[in-house]
Symmetry: C3
Subunit: 300 residues, 3 copies
């Protein structure tokens, strides 16, 4: 069962294989499932980018897609996540992509369901396909992760991106530094002042302020946040000549990053979205490649 749950659960070799496939997909490589195969996208939190990115990836692989969002469903009727997934398994779905507000939603599923689970974002925990697309974007730029300095800046504590990326980049030999407001720091890594982070980084990765997760708790205005912890026009000028800007999006323009920088020459923000489709195709291929045989036997 080729689940994709956390970056920590993948060996470096497995990650490299996924990145290799993703890179080939980005060059136009075609891989399709051989017979009619269903995948379900189960989104228990709203999402545009990730859900549609998965849907494009799925359809490019020739998968038949079922979309499910928690609002209009019998989850309202009190069903457990396990029963929901088993239901989709029973009606013939060969894999599920799940976004869920709980960090470890998959723990009640692993070992009990017979179809692969792809984590599409888990609470404040992990978001492995976002990490894979970030890795792909960095690798396309620098060919290696070894000895790169990656600065991750913003709301570290609530960011699933920060956690997944810190884990994977460190294992690949990159030097990850954090920066951001004290109240949003956690125990994960090394914190430095923002100007230092920006001067040293090969990759400046800004995080989104998750307004919806701490409404009203932010003790300063957007403009104050931007000046204190954002990538301002002035700070961009301190960056190394070859350094790039990344952001998982959606961007709060003028908060994490000056609006003028979103599509500047250094920015890889929309490139990341493009790569998201390729990384997800690779993750799905990995899950469904081995599934093909099992599905068939199920229907006999």
């Amino acid at each position: 069962m080729k689940h994709l749950l956390t970056m920590a659960g993948l060996t470096l070799n497995e990650i490299e294989n996924i990145l290799f496939d993703a890179e080939r997909f980005s060059k136009g490589e075609v891989w399709k499932v051989k017979e009619q195969t269903f995948v379900a996208n189960l989104f228990f939190e709203p999402s545009t980018r990730t859900r549609n990115s998965f849907e494009v990836a799925e359809k490019k692989l020739g998968l038949d897609v079922l979309n499910f969002s928690a609002e209009s469903s019998s989850v309202q009727k009190g069903e457990t996540l396990y029963d929901t997934v088993r239901t989709f398994e029973s009606i013939g779905v060969s894999g599920v992509v799940i976004r869920h507000p709980e960090n470890h939603f998959f723990q009640e599923l692993v070992g009990k369901v017979n179809i692969p689970i792809i984590n599409a974002g888990a609470g404040c925990g992990e978001h492995p396909t976002q990490c894979l697309l970030d890795l792909l974007t960095i690798k396309q730029e620098f060919q290696t992760f070894k000895d790169l300095t990656v600065a991750i800046i913003g709301d570290i504590r609530h960011s699933r991106v920060a956690h997944s990326n810190h884990d994977a980049l460190t294992r690949f030999g990159a030097n990850v530094i954090f920066s951001g407001p004290k109240e949003w720091q956690d125990e994960t890594g090394l914190y430095v002042p923002i100007d230092e982070a920006i001067r040293e980084a090969d990759v400046v990765m800004m995080l989104r302020i998750q307004h919806e997760r701490h409404e009203g708790q932010m003790g300063n205005t957007k403009e104050e946040y931007h000046q204190a912890y954002g990538l301002t026009i002035e700070r961009e000028k301190m960056m190394k000549p070859h350094a790039i800007i990344m952001h998982p999006a959606p961007v709060n323009r003028g908060v994490e990053i000056a609006s003028e920088l979103v599509e500047c020459e250094r920015s890889r923000i929309f490139k990341q979205m493009q790569n998201g489709v390729f990384a997800r195709m690779a993750a799905l291929k990995r899950a469904f490649e081995c599934k093909t045989v099992q599905t068939q036997s199920l229907s006999i």
Copy 2:
């Protein structure tokens, strides 16, 4: 026009034909529409299981699917159901699958629209494709309905499953007995104490408590209900050796049925969901087989 509205509207022979096709689909038989054909799923009540089961069935038949849910639609603008269905007919849809809160929603449509209607659950009335999948599951188990005792237990009055199944099973020569709280009984059939029902049954069919239909009116706690009218671990031991457990799902674990029994050896609950796709494929095939010709003439 091959509508599927109520079980009572089908002859035994028609039911047998649908079950025959469903059984073949369960064995891997393939049947596809010959040209691009659209079906619309019009859901005026939330549903995961049924809607996705239909969508899988439709896509397995090669249909192009439009999904419509009442929340995000111009039903808010006060349109009649008739006008909504005629709209879908006008834009080229060859059949509609409808779930609706009213028991007889289809009465304003039959004879006035020119495309087949498949009832996907009507208020507290009928839910014929649920009945068909139940029949298929029982038939796979016992080969016949004749002289089987089927105990339907729970909230009979509000259950569309109970009504459809009672009608069809009785006509096929099965002996249907009911059990459940007095306030949820109606005039349909014979009521017996739950322990007696469970001892005598070849099929123990538990119904879901529709919390959303009578919030707060249930005069006892979930645990009390479970002890009084649920399939407890103790009651399962009273069942005949060969008897099976069914439930239309979603299950309220620990209420209608002990959580441990949901996937026990006797349980056919997930098997029912699997069969749901095959029963719906058969019902859709029946509707679209004869439609194919008519659709073509419409576009000329």
Copy 3:
């Protein structure tokens, strides 16, 4: 870039080409995209008819469809429309169909995004594909627009249909007259009393009362409105023998039009819906025909 934003932005020749293609699609002509191509329907207002009409049109052209509605999306997270569209562009979408509450939503997009935009209804402004389907319906009836009298009756001020149709019909040489309550008139054209409008018209085009746009501001009951400004059974008898009835739907039966007239012999209301698919196929073909090449280069 073949956007479709306003009728005024199309030359008469371009409109004729679209109508020519639409007419061919109505006769069964087939045109499909040559390779896998994605389109996204971005609906920032609820809609049944238009969204599903587009989806049928898109699938008939072989497009892969992404559906997005503002309710369940990260627009809640404060993203700009520009960033949303750029996101869809980045994930590989080759065109977007947008319905939006603002009259000029597309002004922040044109010249900045690299994929065609099709306006599926903009606030109280334009709704060009509705206009195109109206033109197609009129042309099928009278072969020409020259010297036809078209009466548009109802809530002119808030109607995107009225504005688009007035512009296009006038340019094609038709004589457009308006009628309706004084408080809903605007500066667009010539207003006449309703009985006069109905007697003189070759085409009686009734508009929908947009209850959702001016709840409670309507100073009279539905029956009073019907008598004063609706197409009553009596008024239908005053129409010219060959004159037809049109309505963009959904219809408020008994308000703008007597319920008995919705499907009378003169009515083209459901014909308009049928034509909507063909007009949208033509508009999409126009957008995607030239796109095919560009998309390909994007993925290299």
